[in-house]
Amino acid sequence: MIINHPILGPRDSAEFTYMGDAALLDRPDWQAKDALAQFIDYGYLRDNPAGPHQELWYHEQGDRSFLVVTRDTTTHEISSVKLANDVARSRGRST
């Protein structure tokens, strides 16, 4: 697979480490009333779709960016690649 890095262009997937479902960006609020239930859901339940999947890839042998890659799990075709940092900000992650 080739991942089209938003900064560096097409790179061999062998340079990356897969880090799981991009839902891992949405870490729950520890002070929420149902924080424990939310963390269990966050930690363990996955959509696991057969089709487009948003997932995290870490460019470990490259620029150390985390990327949010949208990839079809039935064909391995990649339709979108973004910097995870930008995606996290756009989802309103702060402290």
Binding site: L25, G43, E60, N85, R89, R93, T95
Partner: protein, 449 residues
């Protein structure tokens, strides 16, 4: 698919299918294609990464020096580390290790700890960030101080431990275990980029940038005073236990000094730029001659940390929590940190949870081998009655018998109990006593000396 994995029989099969279905062979089509197209030698895929070049080897800057000393090396991940340093007349590894341990506890020993992971954490939010990464508090750590930190995975299980030294308000140096250096860095980058993208924090690995040596034993200060330039005061008042500082050594070389101890002795770790690592170990050994300083390897390091009751990789085995380690009070409830919420789940906090304890043999001639299981006296020896297992074991030359660290159900309330230690795999079955994991200097007087 038979012996040819369909490479030749496929066509015949397709022809039969065509006949049976009344179609032509092209109409039937072919099966899903599986590579390689033509049989290909495994060696062609493996390429040049074969034999001892299968994976890279990592060597510390003191490697050549250790070879000169006749060190026996051990693989720790990709690293080669000196395991012990046999001296003339020593025919069994235990003789070398016992000597290294005794000499260190009696006077001073030097050990290469370069392989520990080092991560430079800088930025205005560096302390806030470490508060998220470690389960214990880091916000108020004073500049010039070092603190032990326990890192949990998000599922509440212990991930790694190490120290974080605060060199400035916005600058920490974090150490990780040798084995987890890469995964901890990855984990911290995930936290920085994905969880807290607005924190002002920058990370860079400096594992290889510094050669680091532990100098441990009652004469550690005396030895280092000959190395560290005289304007730096190493006295207990000026540089107490858990202090850290930028210093210079040998007449002006920049260095970092940490007063931390894995052995339980009065100990320091001194770090110099890697290119001076070889020169530094030689200089340390030279300065130590008057104290009969020894070089010690990973085996003696292990013996001393077991004697002191420090957890290491065998205890942080990926299934143990802060509670199992006896560190549950370190998990701060006053702040959010990775793993703190899920560590509260009931199954991780049962009354009979495994607790880290020490073991000593009832008959001091017996070993207490790692991998053995614990059974309550009188109970049948089977899985239902399994009470725990030994994680780390060694012969303690200071106590004159074997000792071990083990996880035991409700272990903290069973001190003094005599248990059966069994290893049917190796034909071992003896009695052991449950004791504190701190075999030597439980009050920590030596390391504060």
């Amino acid at each position: 698919m038979a012996t040819d994995q369909g490479k030749t029989s496929n066509m015949g099969g397709l022809a039969i299918m065509a006949e049976l279905t009344g179609k032509t062979i092209p109409e039937v089509g072919t099966t899903i294609f599986r590579p390689p197209y033509t049989p290909t030698a495994i060696g062609a895929f493996a390429g040049r990464d074969r034999g001892t070049d299968f994976r890279p080897t990592r060597k510390t800057p003191s490697h050549k020096w250790a070879e000169d000393q006749g060190a026996v090396f051990v693989e720790v991940g990709m690293w080669l580390r000196a395991q012990w340093f046999p001296q003339a007349g020593e025919t069994h590894w235990r003789q070398s290790v016992d000597r290294e341990v005794l000499a260190t506890r009696k006077s001073v020993g030097i050990c290469d700890v370069t392989t520990l992971g080092k991560i430079d954490v800088q930025g205005a939010d560096a302390a806030t960030f470490l508060n998220k990464i470690y389960c214990n508090a880091f916000g108020k750590l004073a500049i010039g101080k070092t603190r032990y930190g326990l890192m949990l995975r998000e599922d509440g299980i212990a991930m790694d431990d190490g120290t974080a030294a605060r060199l400035a308000d916005d600058h920490f140096v974090v150490t990780t275990t040798t084995a987890n250096a890469v995964s901890v860095f990855r984990h911290m980058e995930f936290a920085r980029q994905c969880l807290w993208p607005d924190f002002d924090v920058q990370l860079i690995s400096t594992t290889e940038a510094w050669a680091q040596y532990a100098v441990a034993g009652p004469n550690a200060r005396n030895l280092l005073q000959k190395i560290v330039d005289s304007e730096f005061d190493l006295s207990n008042e000026a540089f107490p236990f858990m202090a850290c500082a930028n210093v210079t050594v040998c007449g002006g070389l920049r260095a970092r000094l940490f007063r931390i101890s894995f052995s339980g002795e009065l100990a320091f770790e001194i770090a110099v730029p890697t290119r001076y690592g070889d020169a530094m170990i030689r200089r340390l050994m030279q300065a130590g001659e008057e104290f009969e300083a020894v070089a010690y390897g990973t085996e003696a390091l292990g013996v001393m940390r077991i004697e002191k009751g420090h957890a290491a990789g065998n205890e942080l085995n990926g299934t143990t929590s802060a509670l199992n380690l006896g560190m549950e009070r370190m998990v701060s409830k006053k702040k959010d940190s990775i793993g703190s919420t899920l560590s509260e789940r009931s199954g991780l906090n049962t009354d009979d949870a495994l607790k880290l304890i020490g073991l000593r043999p009832v008959d001091v001639k017996n070993p207490v081998p790692a991998g053995s299981h614990l059974i309550t006296k009188g109970d049948p020896v089977d899985a239902t009655h399994d009470q725990g297992y030994v994680t780390s074991a060694c012969y303690s030359p200071n106590l004159g018998h074997s000792i071990a660290l083990a996880y035991l159900k409700s272990g903290d309330s069973r001190k003094g109990e005599i248990l059966r230690l069994v290893s049917p795999l190796t034909g071992f079955d003896h009695e052991v006593e449950v004791v504190s994991a701190h075999f030597i200097d439980p009050e920590g007087e030596r390391l504060r000396a």
